[in-house]
Amino acid sequence: MREINAYLTAQQRDLLARARIGIAGAGGLGSNCAMHLVRSGIRRLVVADFDRVAESNLNRQFFFADQVGQRKVEALGVNLLRIVPDLELELLDEEVTGGNASALFGACDIVVEAFDSSCAKQMLIRTMMAAGKTVVAASGIGGWGRSNALQLRRMAAGKLYVVGDFESDVGDRGFEPFSPRVGIAAAMQANTVIALLLGEEP
């Protein structure tokens, strides 16, 4: 196996390489979070998304212009394998629902919630909590600026971590997603996953 994290101990590399991480949604959060995880030494990912790459996604998502029109999970798989060629990827081109979420992510140690609608986010968090999974979610990260407002909140006795700004009215302003702020949140989600796997309080 190629090793791009020489500064981790062998035990730390092993912990990350053996973990299986679910990515629910391969958009701005999910595609960038997956990229960070792979660069950090994660080798096993289960990625679910039913969408195709659109031109409007290129302002923030980990895809390229020549991938417009391709299935997101397939394009993301190609891009991740360009970073590390021997990943173990399960690419699920389907919609995650309350009925199939537990089965799709049942083998995962941690699930990253990276959906783009409030309903889907709530569904995944509740379904995964009921299944006893650890979830790293995100909420309210559109717009730009206000970097210091992005925080990590610990809930459900450490089974749920949420990245967001927790401003009560953020959803009302209609902020569109842009690369830097979505990228910060995606990186915070990946950062949280790595810390949890290495046994540290994120």
Binding site: S117, M129, G142, P177
Partner: protein
């Protein structure tokens, strides 16, 4: 009676449900994920009555990624 909501102590009338309390706080219950005493609540549990000393946390689930 007193409960804790998002880390702040609040006075609540006995018999208040979680959903009623959230509305009092200006929060739409359908738009949040909430936990009571460390357990994430199903949407249906928002109709449950708050108890003295409950630790309630809720965050608005807003899309934007």
């Amino acid at each position: 009676m007193k409960i804790s909501f998002n880390g702040i102590s609040q006075e609540v009338a006995a018999g208040t449900t979680i959903a009623e309390f959230l509305v009092q706080q200006g929060v739409q219950p359908a738009a949040v994920v909430a936990e009571r005493n460390g357990e994430i609540l199903d949407a249906g549990a928002l109709g449950d009555v708050l108890n003295e000393g409950d630790v309630l946390n809720a965050f608005r689930v807003v899309a934007g990624g």
